[in-house]
Symmetry: C2
Subunit: 270 residues, 2 copies
Amino acid sequence: MKIKRSDRLVDMTHYLLTHPHTLVSLTHFSKKYDSAKSSISEDLTIIKRAFEDNGFGIVETLPGAAGGVRYIPAVDEKAANHFIEDICRKMDSKERILPGGYVYLSDLLGDPQVLNHVGRMIASQYKEKNVTAVMTVATKGVPIAQAVATYLNVPFVIVRRDSKVTEGSTVSINYVSGSSDRVEKMELSKRSLPSGSRVLIVDDFMKGGGTVNGMKSIIEEFDSEIAGVTVFAEAAYTAKETEDYTSLIRVNEVDMRNRTMSVGPGSYFD
Amino acid sequence: MKIKRSDRLVDMTHYLLTHPHTLVSLTHFSKKYDSAKSSISEDLTIIKRAFEDNGFGIVETLPGAAGGVRYIPAVDEKAANHFIEDICRKMDSKERILPGGYVYLSDLLGDPQVLNHVGRMIASQYKEKNVTAVMTVATKGVPIAQAVATYLNVPFVIVRRDSKVTEGSTVSINYVSGSSDRVEKMELSKRSLPSGSRVLIVDDFMKGGGTVNGMKSIIEEFDSEIAGVTVFAEAAYTAKETEDYTSLIRVNEVDMRNRTMSVGPGSYFD
């Protein structure tokens, strides 16, 4: 049954949004809607314009027999700035300051709307890095990793400090935890990451960067490459043992005595 | 500037999909597109039909001054059956069988497409239960909790067996782990769950149900109610200490000697 343009637009919008970074042939849509490829092309012109005007990202069309259409999620600068300003405002609360200069983030990292924004921003930043997997460390990094992986449409893997029987055999490494100067262990299930992966490391909060260095070693053990390192928040007041990372927000200062904190945009915006 | 119907349809589809369970007034759209409410109503009729025909869920319109439109994600039975058949096929592999009758699931629970399906199915099942928060236990339950919370558009909270300094003060309870018969502890950050919440408990794999019982006790400690209990997979070969739960798949039998496993649809489909 032939489907009307208006109905096609709604369904194609849904399809592209739920299949980011996936090449879809025009034949797929043309068969699904029993419509000529020329009509599908016109639909895609409308969708492309609307996606770009509204800041959802890019709709690429690749010509030729092996061609098709691909949706690449992105965020425009204005929306990104607006979102981060809002987060900084929410962060600016003495209630968040925890002993040891840590910051309570669980409410933000348990809010699907916040995670969707964060995921889209980070995925947008690494959209041309050919990322094939996202890696994080349990537990707090998981929601961010999942959100990023959703927009890049690649799997995510979880490194653990204590492996469980449900992981099967693991590869483990030792690393130096920057904040405590202790040697700690982290492990990743052997079968979870194929060799030759291009891995984007994500985490919730970076103090010294020891955990990130541990993940870098794990990636080497799996004969894979690092596509990038990014964190939701970084503590700007501690020395870092790692370079080449980006952050969405910077906690510039935590004054434990007066229970005040200064928060601003991270290196994502530099 | 007045926006054309085709562009409105694309943007409204995106808006509704990314704001499930949220009442949006017609005025919001009418202002955004500089279009008459009657035009917006016609757009919504098209979207409603397309969403329902394609099985994305329900688009409710509420009349009156306080009215508007609300998108309730749902899945049709055929799509749900098809997805679970596919999962059962993927599960049917001797490579997944781990010592102690555990099953390797990390690949499935690290795949955003699988998680989106699982999240939508579970959110669909509990769509009328007035869920205000999703709860799970670290680490493996987190991706499912996040996926469900995204489609219900409510926060999710993570109970931990080992609380971290980044949680602030916690409430802890003791529970009996069914599989080991040991008394264990679980904790939840005090500020993460408001009293009077209606909580949907989700987890990846249920053997005895001890962990779920632990979460039930935590919910009581927070003066909140249980809206439901649901797991991705349940082991049908172990006695349960809990009732009133649903599962998407059942692992009916694990034969360690011959390394075979029998998997079928869970109680979701009963």
